[in-house]
């Protein structure tokens, strides 16, 4: 996943402004910029390609729905990542089922065999974590957010982020 460029906040603000002005390059720019990142976060949370794509679509729709109420003092990408994690957690709750190892197979679908092998290893390990712990791992290791940013997104104390991450890493180390 590409690192977020330094000028991200300013570029996002510009794109949001373009959206609110009704200019087509606004939403196109935001979708172009974030759809792949959000898809990957959702995929790691859900372990299913189709579900991840559905969540990505829903997040964009919801984001545009609420764009007028979006407070620009917050970072746009934090806001939209938060929506992605929450939407993924909600989907997991709605399903009310444990994701089985067979479900992880879906992660392998888009890539060649080599990539599938790598993702299979990590994907299986991730899906054995509790969803809340998984969210912390995904935001930290797959989206490179800081403890404070993760705490803000998930609305939990920084100390909780650290403890969840510590526990989750222990489990992942044992699995991998």
């Amino acid at each position: 996943m590409k690192e977020l460029p330094a000028a991200t906040d300013e570029q996002d603000r510009l794109l949001v402004k373009r959206c609110l002005e009704g200019q087509p390059d606004g939403p196109i720019g935001l979708v172009d910029r974030y759809h792949k990142r959000l898809f990957n976060v959702a995929l790691r949370m859900l372990g299913d390609v189709q579900d991840a794509e559905d969540v990505t679509q829903t997040v964009f729709f919801n984001a545009f729905d609420k764009l007028r109420s979006y407070d620009p003092k917050y970072r746009f990408f934090s806001w939209i990542y938060r929506m992605t994690v929450n939407e993924s957690l909600n989907l997991l709750k709605r399903k009310k089922r444990t994701v089985t190892l067979e479900d992880i197979v879906a992660i392998k679908a888009p890539g060649p065999d080599h990539d599938a092998e790598v993702n299979d290893l990590v994907g299986r390990a991730l899906m054995e974590l509790k969803p809340n712990d998984r969210a912390v791992v995904v935001l930290s290791h797959f989206a490179s957010f800081s403890y404070q940013e993760i705490a803000d997104m998930l609305d939990i104390p920084v100390q909780t982020v650290k403890s969840r991450l510590h526990e989750a890493r222990e489990k992942l180390r044992r699995k991998i």
Binding site: M1, E3, C19, L20, G22, P24, G26, P27, I28, V31, D32, H35, K36, F39, N40, L43, R44, V49, A52, E53, D54, T56, Q57, T58, F60, F61, N62, F64, D65, K66, L67, R68, R94, K95, K96, R97, I107, P110, G111, H114, D115, E117, V118, N119, L121, V122, H141, F142, S144, R169, L172, R173, I176
Partner: protein
């Protein structure tokens, strides 16, 4: 996976990767979404890109729920087909013992036995009429009313209905465990009996969507899904209170999450039925819409006895034969007298 890649993964979770190595880890783990995803997102919000339209936001929920809504209609329709099978409609005209009159009970009073009556000895028929619930059902006001419903008769006499009933796809669906399980679920019953569902199904916009070419091919491509979502009919539908009530209801969510519903959605026969011309015509049929809205039919559908009948092996066997359905219907008529 080579050794170096494995080490990067392992060290990432050890917390010992450098920033550059962490970036390599993320690059290694990154997956490409479907090439259609970006286009799907953008195409579903054309109004948004031109001017900010609050209604646009509603499409969001529709995107992922659309198929489910349509699927719900299919399931509802399938229940109606089964009911039609029980009652023996549509009349086949030249076939002895077929039922098609407005006053069926009177028509068959005192009628002489035909060759078809011999099939009363059929074990499935006998099993059904030995079942107290079935007897109670055929004697019920709801059953009687449904049979006398003008829209019901029109529907069952339509070519679309005949074609669907003759299709392998329908038979497979009616016989599938997923369909039976779904119909027996509380969530489905709640949804189906809700006023919101009824209102939604009765809307002209809903019928436009159901009858559209895109809807017919809804499982075939993302482009068709987008075409539906971009349509005025879809927007009207999503703007309705009924749609929002359904989409936000616990029953609908439970239904979506159920294994039976997912299984049915993935069923080839279900998809085949949904994409057929006959089904499309049926969805656009006025009689079908009015029937769905009728109290008599809803009452019939929601009765335990009717569901029990639908779920029985004897009925499933019977429903595959028009002759046996006719015999069953005649016996039902006699029971009502």
């Amino acid at each position: 996976m080579n050794r170096e890649e494995f080490d990067i993964i392992r060290r990432e979770f050890d917390g010992s990767n450098s920033p550059e190595e962490s970036a390599s880890f993320r690059s290694l783990m990154e997956r490409e979404p479907s090439p259609h995803l970006k286009q799907a997102i953008l195409e579903a919000m054309p109004r948004q890109t031109r001017s900010f339209n609050p209604l646009y936001a509603l499409i969001g929920g529709f995107m992922n729920r659309k198929t489910m809504i349509l699927g719900g209609a299919v399931v509802l329709a399938a229940a109606i087909f089964i009911a039609g099978k029980v009652t023996g409609w549509p009349p086949s005209g030249d076939k002895a013992g077929t039922i098609g009159g407005v006053e069926p009970a009177a028509r068959y009073k005192g009628r002489t036995m035909t060759e078809a009556d011999v099939t009363i000895k059929n074990p499935e028929i006998q099993t059904l009429f030995q079942n107290e619930q079935v007897l109670n059902l055929v004697k019920s006001d709801a059953f009687r009313e449904a049979m006398r419903n003008q829209q019901f008769r029109e529907l069952m006499a339509s070519d679309a209905y005949r074609q669907i009933m003759a299709s392998d796809a329908y038979r497979q669906i009616a016989a599938s465990d997923a369909y039976r399980s779904l119909q027996a679920s509380d969530a489905y019953r709640q949804l189906e009996s809700s006023a919101a569902f009824r209102q939604l199904a009765a809307q002209g916009a809903f019928r436009q969507i159901a009858a559209s070419d895109a809807s017919r091919q809804v499982n075939a491509s993302d482009a068709n899904r987008q075409a539906i979502n971009a349509s005025d009919a879809a927007r009207q539908l999503q703007a309705s209170d009924a749609y929002r009530q359904i989409a936000n209801s616990d029953a609908f969510r439970q239904l979506q999450a159920s294994d039976a519903f997912r299984s049915l959605q993935q069923n080839d026969a279900f998809r085949s039925l949904q994409s057929s011309d006959a089904f499309r015509e049926l969805q656009a049929n006025d009689a079908f819409r009015q029937l769905q809205a009728s109290d008599a039919f809803r009452s019939l559908q929601s009765s335990d006895a009717f569901r029990s009948l639908q779920a029985s092996d004897a009925f499933r066997s019977l429903s595959r034969s028009s002759e046996l359905s006719d015999v069953f219907m005649r016996e039902a008529m006699r029971s009502q007298q």
